[in-house]
Amino acid sequence: MGATIKAVTTREGTKPFAFSEAALAECRSIIARYPAERSKSALIPILHIAQSENDGWLSVNAMDAVAQVLGLKHIEVYEVASFYSMFNLHPVGTYHLEVCQTSPCMIRGSEKIVGHLSKKLGIQPGETTKDGMFTLKTVECLGSCGSAPMLQCGAKYYEDLTPEKVDAMLDAMRAENKRQTYTDR
């Protein structure tokens, strides 16, 4: 990454995206993990940073900024971003609730949790509440099958869920009203 990089990109009519200084510093330290001519390796970690800095999703502008930072063609970034399930190519709610639905969780009642969330929020999996607060999504095994049913929101796992625990979680989220992203510390 040379000094010549302009980390701001725009597309007419859409919200511009710019990496913060702190994010650019983190990008640099990530790129340093790989051999000099192999900086493309940093693409996925840097897409995570871009997503966190863009309200939890990857707009074209955000992806173009990543391409610029790494000196890649735009298509090289889009094709990777569209392959991985954690990259959201559309806006998501402040709280992106990803409920595991794979067999070991199903055995322990994940379908009831999805049903409960659906009813409480008035949305189906894949949808976002009108106020933009919650997106509900079903996902595959998150490596937490022993504490099933469970869901992920940002970097956090919510485990051994019951309808009561889900209600308490939703209340706490509404009160806090702060976006959760995977890269949260």
Binding site: A42, S103, E140, G143
Partner: protein, 451 residues
């Protein structure tokens, strides 16, 4: 109580940090290897230990290491597979979260044995918080001189880095993992060439599971022969089993290979038995291995006590056995519907297929649709035979083993629970209720041959 090699100190206070880890004998294997052993001698100990890959395939680790190409002047890499996405498996997360330095130590000692210039730990994106724990452990190890240039004055240089994924089961397959680590889509590569010859950045690379690399630590500390004393036959040492499903005590357990399946399922040291109702079926090693009826898990078709070993669990082949796999164990009680679970498995593989091979891409989707139809009371008897036919045409006809992994759960469910599939076709109104077997458990006719 069985012997613990990886989890011996896991509950000690401060074990997550370098100081607490050192106080409990941490990093001894690095000292021993770098100061008193040659790289070849370390490989020899791993060979003697009989350690087999803990990621699922069970390939002998020492042998894999000895295949690593060593062309002069070309850097080599060691990559740790911490993608852990096989449904039912959560052992690596537990280890990395609770005792992160064990993995860091294993990477250094293994890196020395292989003459690797650097190592990467590829961790699945969902484990972001575990990634932070490991980043911290790596920073501590650098600060204390366990990583970097001229470690312990031995002349050995080794760098270790974290790499985060972004949600894709297929990236657990080692060549897809390498593609992903290079910043690409996770499409498995055609083999050969194998990673041992052309791996990361086309350089010779060893890919090993988290648990495999952690096991190198006790092997170097105590010697391969000592490790091989635990276990039965070619299943040596200890194995982490992550246990879930309808059991009383879900969790991660370190077992000595060779304990009986009955002890594992029913003793209070491990799963504590089935919750509430009767045992119906077991998936012993992650969703990709064949599902077997409960009685076939406890005893082989020949009536012998089944053991938690690679050999015993696969006794009877796919006709009456299963596999130890990744150690992702889950059990079903008699409220569960095998058709529903098989549909769920099929949906998983369809969702996770990378799409390169048509038998896998199309076949998994077709199986998902057929199973959905049967489960919801719209199936026909011919659908069951069609399913059988589809899975057979996927198996063995794809670039990577995900195709087989998608076929086996369907094949084994039909093989052992065909009557339950037929019930769905015969009683469409009964199965419309998603809780159909919770109210009235399905009565399976036990096959006389393995009752």
């Amino acid at each position: 109580m069985g012997r613990k090699l990886l989890f011996e100190h896991i509950t000690k206070p401060g074990i997550q940090g370098l100081e607490g880890y050192r106080a409990n004998g941490g990093y001894r294997s690095v000292e021993k290897a770098l100061k008193t052993m040659s790289p070849e001698a370390v490989v020899e100990e791993v060979k003697k230990s009989g350690l087999r890959g803990r990621g699922g395939a069970g390939f002998p680790t020492g042998m894999k290491w000895s295949f690593l190409a060593k062309p002069p002047g070309v850097p080599r890499h060691i990559v740790c597979n911490a993608d852990e996405s096989e449904p039912g498996t959560f052992k690596d997360r537990y280890l990395m979260e609770r005792i992160p330095h064990l993995l860091v130590e294993g990477m250094i000692t293994s890196g020395f044995a292989l003459g690797a210039e650097s190592g990467y730990i590829y961790i699945r994106g969902e484990y972001f918080y575990v990634h932070r724990i490991l980043e911290r452990a790596i920073a501590e190890a650098y600060a204390a001189g366990w990583l970097g240039k001229n470690i312990l004055g031995s002349g050995f240089d080794f760098d270790l880095h974290m790499h985060i994924g972004a949600g894709a089961y297929i990236c657990g397959e080692e060549t897809a993992l390498l593609e992903s680590l290079e910043g690409k889509r996770g499409n498995p590569r055609i083999k050969p060439p194998f990673p041992a010859v052309k791996g990361l950045y086309d350089r010779p690379t060893v890919v090993n599971n988290v648990e495999t690399i952690a096991a190198v630590v006790p092997i170097v500390n105590d010697g391969g022969e000592e490790y091989a004393k635990i276990g039965v036959g070619k299943s040596t040492g200890t194995k982490l089993i992550s246990a879930g499903g309808n059991i009383k005590r879900p969790g991660v357990y370190e077992i000595e290979l060779g304990i009986t399946c009955d002890e594992f399922l029913n003793s209070d040291e491990y799963c504590g038995g089935i919750e509430g109702r009767a045992l119906k079926a077991v998936v012993p090693g992650g969703s990709s291995v064949p599902i077997i009826p409960g009685e076939l898990f406890l005893k082989t078709a020949a009536g012998e006590t089944r053991l938690m070993t690679y050999e015993s669990l696969s006794d009877g082949g796919f006709a009456t056995g299963s596999m130890l796999g990744s150690g992702g164990f889950y059990a079903y009680n008699d409220a569960q519907c095998i058709v529903r679970s098989t549909w769920n498995h099929a949906r998983f593989y369809h969702h996770e297929s990378c799409g390169q091979c048509s038998p896998c891409r199309e076949g998994t989707g077709w199986m998902e649709k057929l199973l959905h139809r049967i489960e919801n009371g719209h199936g026909h008897m011919e659908d069951i035979d069609l399913l059988w036919d589809i899975q057979r045409r996927i198996e063995g006809n794809t670039i990577c083993p995900l195709g087989d992994a998608a076929a086996w759960p369907v094949a084994s469910a039909i093989r052992h629970f065909r009557d339950e599939f037929e019930y769905h076709v015969k009683y469409p109104t009964k199965v419309k209720d998603p809780d159909h077997f919770a109210k009235e458990p399905f009565k399976r006719e036990l096959k006389a041959s393995y009752a």
